[in-house]
Every structure is written in structure tokens, then in C-alpha cells.
């Protein structure tokens, strides 16, 4: 069955995010993801509040990283959350955002090893084991919880490049990929499936979730207007290879990058073309979004994650998704 997830950035105050989380749960979403960056509000405080005010939605950090937060602490936080709401917690782990981490003096080295080791340490310690670990990046002399963690907690690995995607398929219970276009999803899923094969698993053993920049409104113009700022940042941060895959003029992308650096929002947002919107967002009327989601599902994802901006009015957008989009896929499955 197709799963729908929703992602929030705790730059917003907790009460707005939790309001939307309650609404999303009632509207048929199965997963709640909260991002983890030091410059926003704390992910675990936000998730704990979500746990208290919701009843069934699965939730977790989407994603945390092993550089800023030691995997032993992550395991402690996730295991405690899983006591509060048994069976509803997942861990999302990725290499983190290099620029943000370097801003606080954290060096991102050996990301593949760091993620793999962090997942190893996490799994061992939440299973109640005493952990002694000597990896390339992490060393744990001796660590064991003084409480008994409950149950098995699924791990989703956030991945972008082919090697990380492969690793994610090999070690993850799920994979989180940033992709809005079927071309990018197909590209990512091929690498994930290779990892799944290496791990001796079946494709259905791994939940492949696409994190999307999403914007829905009954009025296409309003949906597009809300998507433009987010798309401009995605274009500015995308490698040339990805831009070329979508036939995007590198010069135009560079102009957006320069405008954003100069805080010239008008020029940056004005430079976003329909091709960029098409490549880097799922945007439009409910019918248009439904059509795109169907294509992404055909490309191999099993969870569709609605991410920023969601819509020009988030509350109305969640209602539209719940009433006009999710039911379409429930009747399909």
C-alpha cells in the first residue's frame, strides 16, 4: 500500500508543526518526518511533542547525522521515544548537510563509513547489547544502556549519490531520497536495488521514500508561486550533472545562485523557469499532483513524502491532499 509522509522543518514554532501533524494523521498520512539542523528548534523535543499529541502516525528524525550528534546519543533519544510510543518510531540517518555542519566547525569526513558505522552502533545499542566498536570514524570503548530498550526500530538511510544509495539499500529498512522527478527517482532506485541485492534482501523489504518539494492548490498559479522560492534554492544547490539531466541551462542556474548569494530574492525567484519547477517540485492542482505521484510510484518508490512548501496555505494544502490525493491511491491499492 502506498504510504504518504509529511516533512516539517522546526524553524516553525512547535505548536504550528504539531497542529499540522495532528491534521495529517487524521487525513491519512502514515509518516511524520522532522528535519534535524542545529539552527532550527530541536528535533527530539519536537518529536516528543508530536508523540504526545498524536495516536498512530509513525515518526522520526528525517534525517539526523552522525557528525553533529553522536550515534550513542541518537540511540538513547530514539529508544526513549520508542518507550513513549512503542512501534511508532523510526530513525532517519544521513551524512548531513556539509555547509551547515562546516558552519559550526564539524568536518564531514568519510560519509559512507560514518553512516554505516552509526547505523551499526545504533542497532547494537538499541537491541540492548553492550557495545565495543572500533570503526574508521567511530570508536566506542564500552557502552550499554542502563534501561531495557523496547522492540526493533526501523532505520531509514538518507542518500543522494550512487554509493550512499547503494549503502542505503544494503543496510536500511528504508531509504530517503530527495527526488521529485521520475528520471531522478529511477536513477536513485537503480542504485538502491543494487544495494538491496548485495544485502540479500527483496525490494519489498525496503521502504523507498521520496522526499519532495511539494505545492498543491486548486489554482495552479498559487501552487507555483509557493513553490518558486524553494525551487530556486534547490537549483542553486544542485550539481551540474543533475541540472543537465533535466535540460536546465547552467548559466540560468548560476544567475539564480548569484542572486541568492546577494540576497536579491526578486532576481533569484524571477529566474526560476517552468522547467526548473517541473524538475525539482511536485506542483500543481490536486489532479496534476496525483498524476505526478502515480509516475513516481511507477518509478519504484513506496512512500511519497510531502515536503516544503506543501502549499501557499499549509492547512488548506493538507486538507486537499487528504481529501483529493490520498484517497486516489487508497482505491488503487
Amino acid at each position: 500500500m502506498t504510504k504518504f509522509g509529511i516533512e516539517f522543518v522546526p524553524r516553525e514554532p512547535y505548536w504550528k508543526i504539531i497542529y499540522y501533524a495532528i491534521q495529517a494523521e487524521g487525513g491519512g498520512f502514515s509518516n511524520l518526518w522532522v528535519t534535524d539542523h542545529f539552527n532550527n528548534r530541536n528535533v527530539y523535543v519536537t518529536l516528543t511533542t508530536a508523540a504526545i499529541y498524536t495516536n498512530k502516525i509513525t515518526f522520526g528524525p528525517g534525517v539526523t547525522n552522525p557528525y553533529m550528534v553522536n550515534p550513542v546519543f541518537t540511540a538513547q533519544a530514539i529508544a526513549t521515544l520508542n518507550e513513549l510510543t512503542p512501534g511508532r518510531v523510526v530513525l532517519g540517518m544521513g551524512a548531513g548537510d556539509k555547509t551547515t555542519l562546516e558552519g559550526v566547525g564539524v568536518e564531514v569526513e568519510k560519509p559512507l563509513a560514518a553512516v554505516q558505522e552509526a547505523v551499526d552502533i545504533f542497532r547494537k545499542i538499541v537491541s540492548g547489547e553492550s557495545v565495543a566498536y572500533k570503526g574508521e570514524v567511530f570508536k566506542v570503548a564500552s557502552a550499554k544502556f542502563l534501561f531495557k530498550p523496547k522492540g526493533r526500530i526501523p532505520v531509514y538511510v538518507g542518500a543522494q549519490g550512487p554509493k550512499m544509495l547503494e549503502l542505503a539499500g544494503r543496510i536500511g529498512d528504508g531509504v530517503l531520497i530527495n527526488a521529485c522527478h521520475p528520471k531522478d527517482v529511477e536513477y536513485a532506485v537503480n542504485s538502491v536495488r543494487e544495494g538491496i541485492r548485495q544485502g540479500g534482501k527483496k525490494p519489498e523489504d525496503v521502504d523507498v521514500a521520496a522526499y519532495t518539494s511539494f505545492s498543491v492548490h486548486e489554482d495552479l498559479k498559487k501552487a507555483t508561486k509557493a513553490a518558486v522560492p524553494v525551487v530556486s534554492f534547490i537549483v542553486a544547490g544542485s550539481p551540474s550533472l543533475l541540472l543537465e539531466r533535466h535540460g536546465i541551462d547552467l548559466k540560468k542556474a548560476e544567475e539564480i545562485r548569484e542572486a541568492l548569494k546577494a540576497n536579491d530574492w526578486g532576481r533569484a525567484f524571477g529566474g526560476v523557469t517552468p522547467e526548473m519547477i517541473e524538475a525539482f517540485s511536485v506542483c500543481g492542482t490536486p489532479e496534476m499532483c496525483t498524476e505526478r505521484i502515480a509516475l513516481l510510484l511507477k518509478s519504484g518508490i513506496s512512500q511519497f513524502v510531502v515536503g516544503s512548501p506543501i502549499g501557499s496555505n499549509v492547512r488548506e494544502a493538507i486538507n486537499l491532499i487528504s481529501q483529493k490525493i490520498i484517497p486516489h491511491f487508497q482505491t488503487q491499492s
Binding site: 512547535y14 505548536w15 497542529y19 495532528i22 499529541y53 498524536t54 496555505n313
Partner: protein, 95 residues
Amino acid sequence: MDYRKLLEIIPTGKWEIVSGKLIDFILTSKNDDKMPGHLANVILYQWQNGTLKNETGITALLRAAVLLEPEKTITMFNELQMANVAEQIKETLGS
């Protein structure tokens, strides 16, 4: 302001529409810092329990909307032909 008394002069038939509009003002407000934590928790509790359209729920929403978006709240009551409610809010804010 006694918000329960204020609610008494809002016709019950209008509670649902008032509740929806107040929620939008609060969620789209840029004045997040004016929301007291205890009031936010009351609103979330009422929302979780599906009671934002009843007396306790709307009272909490009114309190929050007047704190975060007083002008919009007054305009809304005028537009909904409830000038008496708008006037009471205006008087309290002015005093």
C-alpha cells in the same frame, strides 16, 4: 477580557466558521512569539480531541487570535456582521 462572555454573543450557528477563520489567523501569523506556551498547548489538546469548534476550543482560539492578530480578528467579526463582538474586542484593546 472574559472570552467566555464574548462567546455568548456569537451565535452558535457561526461557531464553525469563526473557529476555521481564527485557526487560519493563528497558523499564518508572523507574530509567533506572542503565543503563550500554555495557550498553545490548550489549543493542541482541543484540536487533538476534535473540540476546537466548541465553547472551550473557540474560547482558546479567540484568546490566541486577539493576541497574535487583533486587527484581522476585529475585521473578521465586522465582515461576519458581528459588529458588537468587534466593538468589544476593540474596547478591551483600547483600555
